[in-house]
Symmetry: C2
Subunit: 201 residues, 2 copies
DNA sequence: ACCTCATCTGGACATTGGCAAGATAAAGGT
DNA sequence: ACCTTTATCTTGCCAATGTCCAGATGAGGT
């Protein structure tokens, strides 16, 4: 409908800002992230974003929220691709999806897990991040036959799996796992699957 | 010797700046870290640091370097406290030292592992971080009887152990492991030791 | 046609990192 | 002792940033 720009009243500025924010984030990194730059990218005044996001934190919270839903999608996509009912294979698929997302959107990944600039009190963000956590909990529930919310041992499995895949992803993104970086994709995935299998005996 | 301040020529400004930088880092976090604030804290002009560190990155690199040596100390301290020769107990002690450091200096920890503002090309920093990695490699060498640099399987053990402890520490610091945060110290340490033992079967 | 109000603009202010020119004092050579 | 050199620190400046504010604009309801 409002396809042409009318100078004023952009039409869907909120979405445009979110899109540009992701580009800027990927370009400059979180720590050099600039709200004015985002506005410039969209071609709008420097204080236009204020009417859609309270402040920079607000925009980043919204961006992280979108990140978490895509993050969940990445895990689910791997599970669909695996086309199996085996609980252990499904868990491994989630782990690989976790890595897919981290490698595909490293800046977003760091925003979601390694930044102080995001306010996790934001209810939308809380919902999205909780949903991602629940997905992993469900994988463990399927494997153990008990919900981690009922069984401490199963919850320990969740923590173990999560710590493992997150540490692997974070160190890989930070360029610390040199030997792993040298591997090609199938080799790296096999390597990770081998490590990941250890934490849920 | 130069105990009293002489307005000009602070005496040991470099060390004073590093000390203040750590305080500021702990106060404001990395992403709001301000060089001018550090200078103000020391009571010196805003561009005095330029003569001791090329720029903000330079100061942060020096700070991270100091962090890595303390990080290594934390792991070694735990091993001394364990007072054992058992390879597995020594490895666990390193993991607990890893956590000690992360919990004791969370801001420094995030600077070292989760920031883009540190230049790892800095030779001093490279030396310090490599030394910390080598410590873990040595733990695995003692456990397996082979150096990870010679044996791929042993290197895989290093990656596994590192990913596990790092993921656990990072998620804990980010406030994501709610059930673990609820535990008291001994319980949390026992819990971690249990998880950590899984990765090196 | 008019009015209301969300949306967007432009200017202001304090703060930041980095640069350049100058002030200060310690060190060293004569 | 004196003068020069050099390292150290200060002051003043610039562009850029986040946030606030008053005002311009126009879309949608009445």
């Amino acid at each position: 409908m409002t396809e042409e720009k009318s100078a004023y009243h952009h039409g869907d500025l909120r979405a445009a800002l979110l899109g540009a924010a992701e580009t800027v984030l990927a370009d400059t990194g979180i720590e050099a992230f600039s709200l004015r730059r985002v506005a410039r990218e969209v071609g709008v005044s420097h204080s236009a974003p204020a009417h859609h996001f309270a402040d920079t934190q607000g925009l980043l919270a919204a961006l992280a929220t979108e990140g978490f839903t895509r993050f969940l999608n990445a895990m689910q996509a791997r599970q669909r691709a695996a086309a199996t009912q085996d609980a252990r294979a499904l868990l491994t698929a989630s782990g690989l999806g976790y890595l897919d997302f981290a490698q595909g959107s490293p800046a977003l990944f760091q925003l979601m897990f390694g930044s102080e600039r995001v306010d996790f009190c934001d209810p939308m963000l809380d919902r999205a991040s909780t949903a991602a956590f629940d997905h992993l909990a469900q994988d463990i529930a399927r494997l153990r036959g008990v919900s981690p919310y009922d069984d401490p041992a199963a919850m320990a499995d969740v923590m173990a799996a999560w710590s493992m895949v997150h540490g692997f992803a974070a160190l890989l993104m930070a360029g610390r796992l040199k030997p792993v970086q040298a591997m090609d994709t199938p080799e790296r995935e096999a390597f990770f699957a081998m490590l990941f299998a250890r934490v849920t005996p």
